[in-house]
């Protein structure tokens, strides 16, 4: 089953780097049949990265997310924001629907709660602990890769 994983954020802004750091762990573990996409922000062209994938996983930090993390299935959303600077993962799925003419692959979001996002900071102590907790969760997900199995683990 082909998996695409998006890890986005800024490692120079404290816990904002949780997504890319988890993505780096996946790269190090060499998950089979997985495309890994890192970026500062989600954008329009990430819809193209969903092409051909059977399953998509989005990794991010959240400010008001329940600790230590939340794992949810996400669906396409269409709407307007005030800025072109970033898209939500649901909006990327919406761009896919609008431009590819089909349904995006089953998609899941692992959002790890962050505490500190200031420029020039490293991970907070809580962020570092949650990185380990969420990595253990990701390893379990990988052991049973599939939409049905992942759906059973959502909240």
């Amino acid at each position: 089953m082909k998996l695409v994983v998006f890890g986005w954020g800024n490692v120079s802004r404290g816990d904002d780097g949780l997504g890319p750091l988890l993505l780096a762990r996946i790269a190090e573990a060499r998950w089979a049949d997985a495309s890994l996409i890192e970026d500062f922000q989600l954008q329009l062209e990430h819809a193209l990265d969903l092409q051909g994938a059977d399953l998509a996983l989005f990794l991010d930090a959240g400010k008001n997310t329940p600790a230590p993390f939340a794992f949810t299935e996400i669906h396409a959303r269409h709407g307007m924001t005030h800025t072109s600077h970033a898209l939500a993962p649901e909006a990327v799925l919406g761009v896919y629907e609008k431009t590819m003419g089909g349904r995006p692959p089953p998609s899941f979001l692992l959002c790890v709660r962050g505490e500190s996002f200031d420029l020039g900071e490293g991970l907070s102590a809580a962020g570092a602990a949650r990185l380990e907790q969420s990595w253990a969760f990701l390893e379990a997900l990988e052991r049973a890769r599939g939409p049905l199995e992942w759906r059973a683990r959502t909240e």
């Binding site: 800024n10 989600l42 062209e45 709407g79 005030h82 761009v95 431009t99 996002f117 420029l119």
Partner: protein, 493 residues
């Protein structure tokens, strides 16, 4: 400057706040004070200043700066990268780049301009122009035009992707690339990479041209509305070549007044500090730059696509210049100042960027291997300026004998446009809100004006859970009487 900056009295006024909170550090908020008859008395756009940038950069070795500044902004990393490296060229003693190095940097920059303008058009401008207004006459008139362009959304994505591919090939990576280094570049463009990019460039030019045509046709459906929405006269500033051509990568500073008369021209970028002054106002963190000789009241200006294509004498690529002339024609030789005209100007620039990319790819120097200039005398202070997608971007550094950055000052595009954005929303509030019951549709008009500028809100972080848009209704006593929130998907919450 509009009279709506400060109300004569705050008594018996109702406060409406539009609070587009984005990510963690930066956010913007609009506050509108209304009386009991919904007449507008005060309108202010507050944008949190970019705090911590200087501390992040000062103390680092100068050669590291062009790489680390990419982490200041997740949407314009290439602009910061190139503005910083232009300053560091001078610091390191490189006063002239090789032709290959300069053209590769230009290719990277025009790739960034193309992709940024394409995102804006697809994600913000075309929905606004096609769907953003709820008035029936506008809707009726645009239906036929929109039907001629069924592929807009897909083209927007592919234009963005194409620009990103240029950045990847010139900087080495999709993000965190190095590409430009003090004195030149560190990566060649291979013949295979050039041919890959050449395959699609004519298609990109065609799509960019179609997008200009779409905006032009939409304006033609209702020029009385599109041309005057958020209109206000202002000075305009941008970079220009010595012959007056539009210049986005290099050049010198030029400004015209609202009627098109030249204020200054060919001022070296290193003199920006003596030319411009930044004013502080007590109600917002963001400073208000203005032309020092004209003073704060008369010297503020706008930057970005609408300013650039009217500050230059011509655009040095034929299709974009043809479109610029069509754009300028209704003004009868005078500049046009409607806020929605930013979209039209932006797509003319996108067309120019696509044409420039084609010309650069056709240039034999682009696959050259002479990447570093000759090193001369080093300097301890330098200014790098570039026209970022949203407007003029200043990077100013001082470096000690130990090679460490001792001083850093950035004026980003959004700061340059601070007063202009305030004037735009005041114009919209005065024309569309004042005297009416405030509805979501009318508040959307304010958002439309903000979206036209697409201001940077320090968005290098992006934690999920932030609400990019919050509207608070507060009565005269300060009590919250209503709130609307919108997330990054555009969903109300």
């Amino acid at each position: 400057m509009s009279a709506l900056e400060t109300a004569d009295t705050k008594q018996n006024l109702r406060r409406v706040a539009i609070d587009p909170v984005t990510r963690v550090e930066g956010h913007g908020k609009v506050t509108i004070l209304l009386d009991d008859n919904n007449r507008v008395h005060q309108v202010r756009l507050h944008i949190v200043e970019f705090r911590g940038f200087e501390a992040f950069i000062e103390g680092r070795p100068f050669w590291e700066v062009p790489v680390v500044v990419q982490r200041l902004c997740g949407i314009c990393p290439v602009s910061h990268h190139l503005a910083a490296v232009k300053a560091m060229d001078h610091i390191a003693g490189y006063h002239r780049l090789t032709p290959t190095a300069e053209k590769l940097r230009r290719l990277m920059h025009y790739g960034q301009i193309l992709q940024s303008h394409a995102v804006h058009f697809f994600h913000l401008a075309s929905p606004d122009l096609l769907l953003g207004f709820d008035s029936e006459p506008t809707r009726r008139n645009i239906v036929g035009v929109a039907a001629q362009f069924p592929e807009i959304a897909r083209q927007g994505v592919l234009l963005r992707k194409y620009g990103q591919e240029i950045i990847r090939h010139t900087s080495g990576k999709r993000i965190h690339g190095t590409g430009a280094i003090p004195g030149g570049v560190n990566k060649t463009l291979t013949t295979a990479e050039r041919e890959e990019l050449r395959l699609d460039i004519d298609t990109m030019i065609g799509w960019a041209r179609d997008a200009v045509g779409l905006v032009e046709q939409l304006h033609a459906t209702r020029p009385d509305f599109y041309d005057v929405f958020g209109e206000f006269p202002s000075n305009m500033m941008g970079l220009a070549a010595p012959n007056g051509a539009l210049e986005l990568y290099d050049g010198a500073l030029r400004a015209r007044d609202a009627s098109g008369a030249m204020i200054f021209d060919q001022v070296p970028c290193s003199d920006y500090d003596s030319l411009l002054q930044e004013e502080v106002k007590p109600w917002t963190y963001m400073k208000f730059p203005h032309i020092r000789s004209l003073g704060a009241e008369a010297g503020w200006y706008k930057v970005g696509p609408l300013a650039r294509i009217q500050t230059c004498d011509f655009i040095p690529t034929p299709l974009a210049e043809e479109e610029r002339k069509k754009f300028m024609a209704p003004g009868g030789g005078k500049p046009r100042h409607g806020t929605l005209l930013f979209h039209w100007a932006r797509m003319i620039e996108a067309l120019h960027a696509a044409e420039t990319i084609r010309d650069l790819l056709d240039d034999p120097d682009i696959v050259g291997t002479d990447l570093m200039g000759e090193k001369g005398e080093r300097h301890l202070e330098a200014v790098g300026v570039i026209e970022a997608p949203r407007g003029t971007l200043f990077h100013h550094y001082r470096v000690g004998a130990d090679d460490l950055v001792s001083y850093c000052n950035l004026i980003v595009s959004t700061t340059n446009n601070n007063q202009a954005m305030n004037e735009a929303i005041r114009s919209v509030a005065k024309d569309h809100l004042s005297g009416h019951e405030v509805t979501e549709g009318l508040l959307n008009h304010i958002e439309v004006a903000i979206r036209a500028y697409d201001p940077c809100l320090s968005c290098a972080t992006h934690a999920i859970g932030q609400m990019p848009l919050q509207v608070d209704l507060v009565d005269a006593s300060g009590a919250l009487v209503g709130r609307r929130r919108k997330n990054f998907s555009g969903d109300a919450a």
